[in-house]
């Protein structure tokens, strides 16, 4: 077995080759290195923290299952990103059949249920909301294919070609989705932008 001193100092190619030989420390370093990006991407695509975390579990299982077939001369993250996006799409397809836990459904738990109240939204907390939070909220309201495409473009900073490759769609579709997503975002942020622009 190839001996490695510090896994944190290894580049992706080395880690992949080690992980392909079953080196679990190399795999853990891959998990460490990409967990935040995977969770952030999945949370944004799914539009919920819970779903993003669920997807991250699947993504890491999928990486472990498939890493031996990965071409180690290629860059790792685009492959991981593609797995993540595909896992999100798969989950969104299944969504109609999914059972969501709702605390309202609990019947017998009187003495001990102490539940966060989603409706709680103190007026004074509004001042703390940052612009990026407003943008994120608007982004969450976009239909999923617009949201995912725009996110890959703006935050993941992918080219149109890379987006097309990740989502298995043609470049024309990527362009039209991004144009539409931008238009929808402008509409959703209209009120906020007007308030921001108001000099009074």
């Amino acid at each position: 077995m190839y001996k490695v001193g510090n896994y944190k100092e290894q580049d992706d190619t080395t880690l992949i080759r080690l992980a392909q030989r079953g080196d679990e420390k190399a795999f853990e370093e891959i998990v460490n290195r990409y967990s935040n990006r995977i969770i952030n991407l999945a949370v944004k695509i799914m539009g919920s923290t819970d779903d993003g975390w669920d997807i991250a579990q699947e993504v890491f299982i999928s990486i472990w299952k498939n890493i031996r077939s990965f071409d180690s001369s290629k860059t790792l993250y685009p492959w991981i990103r593609k797995i993540t996006v595909n896992a999100c799409y798969e989950e969104l397809r299944k969504r109609g059949r999914r059972v969501e836990s709702s605390l309202d459904d609990v019947e017998d738990g009187e003495p001990s249920i102490d539940i966060p109240d989603d409706k709680y939204s103190p007026e004074d907390a509004f001042d703390k909301i940052e612009l990026n939070e407003v943008i994120e909220k608007a982004l969450e309201t976009l239909p999923e294919h617009y949201r995912i495409t725009l996110w890959l473009r703006v935050v993941e900073n992918l080219t149109y070609e890379e987006i097309a490759e990740t989502l298995n769609i043609n470049i024309g579709t990527v362009k039209s989705r991004i144009n539409m997503a931008r238009k929808l975002m402008r509409d959703r942020l209209k009120y906020y932008l007007e308030v921001k622009d108001d000099p009074s």
Binding site: T49, D50, R68, G109, I113, P122
Partner: protein, 364 residues
């Protein structure tokens, strides 16, 4: 004015109060119920927790567990536990005793009063209760559980899907000192029978599973017991879901208020007490150096976040492939793994590597 006001007398609040009174601080605990009060909890604890508290398990009437049985359908795998490594306890007694110890050390207790408001003025905090009382403190510890009002006050947003635990506590004389864990009942979760002193706690914890269907699944574990007049009680579980704001310059969140329950085991008490210890250290350091408590968030996550994240990843493998994992259990000693995890002798990082060694490529 009190040095510290603790809102909530659960494991994290009462242990925070205990730790801080030991350091000579003036601590006030405000608890909305009168103690002792019942809490739905499997009550699993480990020697590590008692060592952290520096209080022996006998003080809480803890019940020492000698075996763990892992069940899947009709199949059972039994493992011995290292002696005096895992315990169970009644939460009403545990929380009450911890609070008593804090009070014996000088903490004051206001019980049966609910915190309804917090105000901050000129560097001090005023806590208002539903009975119209006001209490002033320099620092505040939010230990008021998963729906924490203190967390809302500081703007910590925890809008997550909440896993649920349901349980029946059945009176039972001299139970066998063996915990039973049931796999294969729900897709993401497990069932349990935890013996305690004169009680069996029989429960089910599940994530992304219909709460309406949970009692039906639980009934499979209850079939051999007379439980007709005993209600099923439920409790949401405050799983970790990424980093959030856990402190301001004079307020800290601990335990379930901070959403740091272990997503693999569902165990909440250990991290509750750990967070109380970190709160104690942070408050003392900040008093000494006259610094804001805000450093607590980073301090806590630097100790816990990595492990909590890996616990979530491992639970993904463990619970999604329960049948395969159960079959592989001959290759590892689940008793030792559980005992070491709960006693922090094994990290989730080590467990992940162990699982990856055991689980071949392509099996999942």
């Amino acid at each position: 004015m009190h040095d510290v006001i603790v809102v909530g007398a659960g494991p994290s609040g009462s242990s925070s109060a205990l730790f801080l009174t030991r350091r000579g601080l003036d601590v006030l605990i405000i608890e909305k119920k009168r103690l002792p009060r019942y809490k739905v909890c499997a009550g699993g604890t480990s020697r590590y927790i008692f060592e952290l508290l520096d209080v022996p398990p006998e003080c809480f009437d803890a019940f020492s567990i000698e075996k763990v049985k892992v069940c899947y359908g009709d199949r059972v795998k039994e493992y011995n536990l290292p002696s005096n490594s895992i315990f169970t306890l009644h939460r009403d007694q545990f929380d009450y005793r911890l609070t008593q110890l804090a009070c014996q050390g000088g903490a004051k207790l206001v019980e049966g009063e609910e915190t309804i408001g917090i105000e901050e003025e000129n560097g001090s905090l005023t806590v208002k209760t539903n009975l119209g009382h006001k209490f002033r403190g320099r620092y505040l510890i939010g230990a008021d559980g998963i729906g924490s009002k203190v967390a809302r006050f500081i703007g910590g947003r925890f809008n997550y899907r909440v896993p649920l635990a349901i349980q029946k506590d059945i009176p039972y004389r001299n139970p066998e000192p063996a915990i039973s864990l049931f796999m294969g009942l729900v897709s993401m979760g497990y069932g349990w029978i935890f013996p305690k002193n004169n009680t069996l706690s029989i429960g089910l914890g599940a994530y992304a599973f219909s709460p309406k269907k949970m009692p039906e699944v639980l009934s499979r574990l209850l079939k051999d017991f007379d439980h007709r007049d005993i209600p099923i009680l439920a409790h949401p579980i405050a799983f970790y879901r990424g980093k959030k704001k856990l402190a301001t310059r004079n307020i800290i969140l601990v335990g379930d208020s901070a959403h740091i329950t272990d997503p693999f085991s569902g165990e909440g008490i250990r991290n509750a007490v750990k967070s109380a210890k970190i709160a104690e250290e942070t408050i003392l350091e900040c008093i000494k150096k006259n610094r804001p408590l805000s450093i607590y968030t980073e301090k806590l996550y630097s100790i816990m976040a990595r492990e909590l994240f890996l616990a979530w990843m491992i639970s993904g493998v463990f619970y999604r492939f329960q049948d395969k994992i159960f079959n592989l259990m001959d290759r590892f000693d689940m008793g030792t793994i559980l005992s070491n995890l709960l006693n922090e002798k094994t990290s989730y990082s080590q467990l992940l590597k162990k699982l990856l060694r055991i689980i071949p490529f392509g099996l999942l």
